[in-house]
Symmetry: C2
Subunit: 178 residues, 2 copies
């Protein structure tokens, strides 16, 4: 199995969620008497909340360990009750692995994709999108996370029968890093 790596763009990620990037803002305007530019409404925050399982939008920080390559990818997860946004706080790039659904319960792991996110790009997984946990490149890294905090079952994990070993190609690494 081969996973192609692509730069993260709003176009190639649209099936999975949003790219949080000032550069791709559909709307931006000056505020604060011209001293600040607002790049407006970059991600759809989508939280299921009802009387049985009340929830709020929460703000947390995730500190991801540096990952060692080749990387063993042995599971994906999804959040059925809410979107989950990650914004890097250490000006470092990171990797994103996602897959479409095969059926109601499983990701289609033969269609997994890997994306290289620039240091200035955040990502917002749409509700129910299968994705791999944080993959920080190089050092441990902090991310601001905006996700659902509340009761109810909001995390499905899918363990692979066999781990997939992913090695980022050196040429790709050099190309994306530059």
């Amino acid at each position: 199995m081969h996973m192609q790596i692509d730069r993260l763009t709003p176009e190639n990620f649209q099936f999975y969620g949003d790219v949080i990037d000032a550069q791709n803002a559909a709307t931006h305007y000056l505020i604060n008497k011209g001293t600040t530019t607002r790049f407006h409404d970059l991600a759809k925050v989508d939280i299921v909340s009802d009387d049985v399982n009340p929830a709020n939008v929460g703000i947390s920080i995730f500190r991801g360990d540096a990952r060692v390559f080749p990387l063993r990818i042995s599971m994906l997860e999804r959040h059925p009750l809410g979107s989950q946004a990650f914004m890097p706080l250490n000006q470092k790039p990171y990797l994103i692995v996602v897959a479409p659904s095969l059926d109601e319960h499983r990701p289609d792991i033969h269609k997994m994709k890997v994306f290289w996110a620039k240091a200035s790009q955040g990502v917002n997984y749409a509700c129910g999108t299968w994705h791999h946990p944080l993959i920080a490149l190089g050092d441990a890294a902090d991310f601001l996370v905006i996700d659902r905090i509340g009761s109810g079952h909001n995390c499905d994990e899918y363990e692979f029968d066999e781990a997939f070993v992913y090695q980022i190609d050196e040429t790709d690494f050099a190309r994306f890093s530059s």
Copy 2:
């Protein structure tokens, strides 16, 4: 009029909102098979939404110009329908200016306070807190902003009769920068 500057802490800011800082997290735990630490629920996202003025939590990026000191502080603003969180994305410190309310319509500008926020600290203004727009130190800086996006009147501005000129003390600047 003199404004004392203090380091931003959850204690000295509690009247105005939350400090978003992994270091001050009341709750943190390992997730993702031990590869990630979650510093959990660091700010209260508080958005007024009803049938007349429906609203969502939005994610935007604010790019603040570098401010020139001495700084002319001539207004404060507040958002009566929602909290507003700022997280620095460029690993640079910044300043926060807030004031309590004098009455229903005005801030008590004689009680303005200034806080030095470290590069690793975000801030979440509680609904209705009078605050100054972004004050980036040094270079222009990007912040991730989590605030209310929807209809209805959600910004009051209060213009001072006379601008207050604020110069950060060199000793303070050196002390906080180090």
